[in-house]
Subunit: 284 residues, 3 copies
């Protein structure tokens, strides 16, 4: 190691730690001082927490093994969401990003909520897992769709963190959309047949439409919001867009699914037992 | 890009790289100079390495496909643990964290072994995979429990890295414990029935009790140690707590499991073949 | 928080953001100015993009559910690769690493393409998933091999990022190779029997040999290239080594697999239906 480094060591590590830390505290302060932004995050903490409590309460009546399994996967959705919003509020998973040349906010520092993309890589696979279990799709099929979904979230994260070039931000965006197309193809063209065979096509149809419509909202917000074309230049308004979608795509989605599972444990169990192809309607 | 930035570029990237690098070397030095801390890490490198060699040797006698599968999953546990401790010792996955206002060590720089939480996100799923294969639980059930387990580890990581607020550290801790409750529920209330059906309930009972008791130790050490209430303020003592639990929950756990599998390949294979419900005891 | 920190906060967070950002832009510039290095990355962006388009086109004729599944998993391989190379080109997933004492380039700053290791943790599991589906191996077996594979990639990442010690770089390298041995064992000793039972042994044999031979090339390049013994000291030449392997192990691999699946949908479907052990040759 070079001479001057040895002299630096103690100082450097303290400076480095201090710098990162001060940033986190400062980011927490920035969020706290922006009432609109702050509200968009706290409302999700509250709703995610309430959802967990409600779902645990609703779970008491769930008896059959397969219904319990879907219930378990669904319970994790608001728990992951809660973690996500705590990360944003604490300043741990947000950062200041200077927009690259070509962007509408070129040279300005924009608060990036990059933690959203990271936690979506855990929460959206759970939503697909719940949908896949409901439709009783092949397990390998589920793995492929979850892999595409994780690819979608991580390239979204890359788009959010790229500050060197405007073109590369959109390149990542397009690759993320390509992964999304694979997920959409499974949800719209492949899984409905499995759900029909399992006798869960009514509820699967409802939840699939909800998911497809709401999930299309995320890339639209990205394109319109501060990170994309910046037609909306307010970090708080952009954040509210994502937060509102999360409320519907996560807690409302999970609530509809759980209420159906609690009321239709026989249908859920029959699907698992292989009593398929009878075309029997859900017994609700 | 602003004018002064272009002038900075070459210098900035070098300064940035140097800073991060110097930190890593300095952290390696700090650990090397703390004999208690250093020993708590090296003892695990040694035991993990010996476990890998021992398990490969024990694996020679394993013939049946399903027994080989459990053996493979178990062999990975000490390999991941070895990677984890190399990360801590090299300074790559540790950092100096300044404790936030409200913490007993407020304003002091504490060495955080955040890499532990990150590698647990890979090693603990392997333990659950081995237990789940032993009990022959439903594969989707296993996926849900592993998802909860990864959530538990990653929110633990978030708790360790949060320096902006004492309250948020504990909020992450509580969410992490909630994920843990889901894992505990599966281990205690769901999987025992599957293990009974598979004829592996004796060994499953032993390993489940070992796992549940030891895993409860981790959040207790966090709460009592330097990262939580700091009743124990020594980084070395806290590290020894985790290291001792790792020895029991990983190498001893894996050894007991592998010895049983090697001695009971017939039982293991029978479970897979669907010859369940006979209540036949393990044939050792 | 200490007094002087509160004064620092605004400045620190801006300095921190600026530093990281300037780095990314500077790294993008460095890559752009190195024609050899730049070409090694752009050629993969082009080939990955063309592969995606070609595979979507080839997928039109795939009808059977299981063939569609293998096709879906294979399509994701060039998409992940495309993301990986965009990450390297944008400067997001590369960094300057000062080589530790003992290394041939001790004290010099070397451009590390650490993003390669990170994205391999998503792309190589997809290759194993495609191979495992083709051979119709047990799903839990697949999970264990994928876990070993992820361990291999992440310890490779740790080796690339360790700057504090030359010995620890090689320690991570050896652990990564140990994970690789587990993967090789499955590919060479376990899966061929499953492929034979599924009637896919011809194509599985071809693709397995291709994969094993090419994957052995990666640790050899690491050892010979700038990150290891530095017998080759050019970042561009080392990068070309990885890029050439990626072309063969990803796009060519995927093309051979997809062409076979499109031509042999009956065989693929029969394997799934449990009509195994007939030793019927592929019907091409």
């Amino acid at each position: 190691m070079l001479m001057f480094e040895s002299a630096l060591t103690e100082g450097a590590v303290l400076a480095d730690a201090l710098l990162l830390q001060t940033s986190q505290a400062e980011l927490l302060g920035r969020i706290r001082n922006d009432a609109l932004l702050s509200a968009s995050l706290w409302v999700n903490v509250a709703l995610a927490g309430l959802s967990v409590l409600l779902f645990v309460y609703m779970g008491r009546s769930v008896q059959s093994p397969r219904a319990k399994l879907i219930w378990g996967a669904t319970l994790l959705i608001p728990l992951v969401s809660l973690s996500s919003y705590l990360g944003l509020l604490s300043g741990l998973t947000v950062g200041l990003i200077e927009m690259p040349p070509g962007h509408a906010l070129e040279g300005e520092m924009v608060l990036s909520q990059w933690g959203r993309y990271l936690t979506w890589a855990l929460s959206t696979p759970l939503i697909l897992l719940a949908l896949g279990l409901l439709a009783d799709v092949d397990r390998s099929d589920l793995l492929v769709v979850i892999a595409a979904d994780i690819g979608m979230c991580l390239t979204g994260l890359a788009a959010a963190l790229t500050t060197s070039s405007y073109a590369f931000r959109w390149a990542f965006y397009l690759v993320s959309c390509s992964f999304f197309v694979v997920v959409l193809y499974a949800l719209l063209a492949e899984w409905p047949a499995a759900a029909e065979a399992a006798g869960t096509d009514d509820i699967f149809g409802t939840l699939r439409t909800l998911t497809v419509v709401l999930w299309l909202g995320y890339p639209i917000i990205w394109a319109v919001g501060v990170e994309g074309f910046a037609l909306v230049q307010s970090v708080g308004v952009t954040s509210w867009g994502y937060s509102a979608l999360d409320v519907l795509a996560k807690y409302v989605f999970a609530y509809i699914l759980l209420r159906w599972v609690a009321d239709n444990q026989d249908t859920v169990e029959r699907a698992n037992a292989g009593a398929v192809g009878t075309g029997a309607p859900a017994d609700d």
